[in-house]
Symmetry: C2
Subunit: 326 residues, 2 copies
Amino acid sequence: MKSEILRLLKENDTYLSGQQICDHFQVSRTAVWKVIEQLKKEGYQIEAVRNKGYRLVDSPDVMSKAEIESLMKTRWAGKKVVYYDETDSTNNRAKDAGEKGEEHGTLFVADRQVAGKGRRGRSWESPAGTSIYMTILLHPDMLPSKAPRLTLLMALAVAEGIQKVTGLESQIKWPNDIVIHGRKVCGILTEMSAEIDYINYVVIGVGINVNQETFPQEIQERAVSLKAELGTNIKRSELIAATMESFEKYYEIFRKTEDLSGVRELYNSLLVNIDKEVKVLEPGHEYEAYALGINETGELIVRLQDGQEQEVYAGEVSVRGVYGYV
Amino acid sequence: MKSEILRLLKENDTYLSGQQICDHFQVSRTAVWKVIEQLKKEGYQIEAVRNKGYRLVDSPDVMSKAEIESLMKTRWAGKKVVYYDETDSTNNRAKDAGEKGEEHGTLFVADRQVAGKGRRGRSWESPAGTSIYMTILLHPDMLPSKAPRLTLLMALAVAEGIQKVTGLESQIKWPNDIVIHGRKVCGILTEMSAEIDYINYVVIGVGINVNQETFPQEIQERAVSLKAELGTNIKRSELIAATMESFEKYYEIFRKTEDLSGVRELYNSLLVNIDKEVKVLEPGHEYEAYALGINETGELIVRLQDGQEQEVYAGEVSVRGVYGYV
């Protein structure tokens, strides 16, 4: 009920009487009072005025199941939240739940990861209190070969979520990073469990640098936080909810065709690599080319020096920009 | 040490003195005597003659870590065996171990599965004492899109293993079943955990009907056991070892090119569908075609009625023979 009372308080700018809340949820005044006290303890500023009622003055950067769920405007993406103050990695939690048949769209969020993962088993720095670590569990009924496309949808959703919540314009570094002024603000790690022709489940993990003020020295030139760009603190739960709202929208567009035709133009407009020289790093082979944007199946089209065009598959190669760290 | 003593006994047709065994393994006579007593309890017929020593007269159809390992002639495939009298499913055991980084080639074997799995989450009947349920764990350093090819390698290995141990000629029903006279004797279930461009691990599960005398009524016309074809009991551990030996061989051929060029001809020679009319069942669309065999990437090439040739991807479609149950 906490999520629901929070949602009600957030939706109302004026005072809500205890009686109104009781009537709305069919619970006792004591029950309402208890929830309000809990919320205050968690850091919510709630004003209580005799004969007027309760008013939410400010929500700090609270991360909790109730806070996130109270902000969620989706039908299924992140509608159910599993929250951890601390866990090994949200991808691991989502994969375990996937094995057990947990439902499509469930979102796993942690304030801190003790074994955060980057691609190919690399670690992902995951301190508490400043970042978003979240993973959505999906059961898409489609061929495993199409799963990489979901990474691109999530990249779109994160970029749009950041724009909606902070006003900051970010860009996508194909296929799975979000950058601002060439510095990484978000990484996406998609993992899948599949049979030959059948996806058991997909998990899409998202790590966003939100309120960090400093980074470890070895990455400080390549990484940036939203706060460093914006100058003020950002409420992580709002960004989570905004990202899920966008993800649900793009996922549903994608499901109609199972390709990226419906989002390709938008993706390319956010693509940091577009119309730029890139270095294509194939295993054992490296060459420069000119990036033209993604095609409908998510490959990056590049023009070689002899004028020929070529599709570059996510993962078969890395792409490195010639400028900055992108 | 049990596996090693067993292996020594099997490699010698004549008597081995206790002293020889002690010297070979640098252990006490009491230790050797204890192992021999254990083996007798498990059903091995071991003759002990004063002044001559021990001789293995007969190994029954024993399934155990020691028995399987004593027969294994591979360098890595099934070199390490994890054996269960009973488990949920060997694929599940292998996947759990894969998450924990268990080594490439480890083989999980069970005498009975209580939650045996077929494709797409269907169940697989797994009674005790008569079948092989085994799963090999692999960490192939290649793109996820190539993983389905491993199923075809295992199909080859099972067909060859059956031939070596029983003399029976079986055939492959593309992509993942083994049949004898049109009836299914083995199914293969490949599952993978992967990132976009990186395989965390692959597990290949194999279920073989070995010594069954009857089948449940609903499948008795489509299923057959090796014993039913051969007329005598088969030692399951020998078939496991023979299959692993073939799998290791074909896997290493495959690794050189990462395609099936090195085994294509052999595969096609065992293919039950070849040069036959098949029904291609695409989702929402069904048509008849003429199967020409697999190509180098494992797709089935079919000729349509208008003479055009087409590649059929494992999983995008089912193929059903026009004769029998294949």
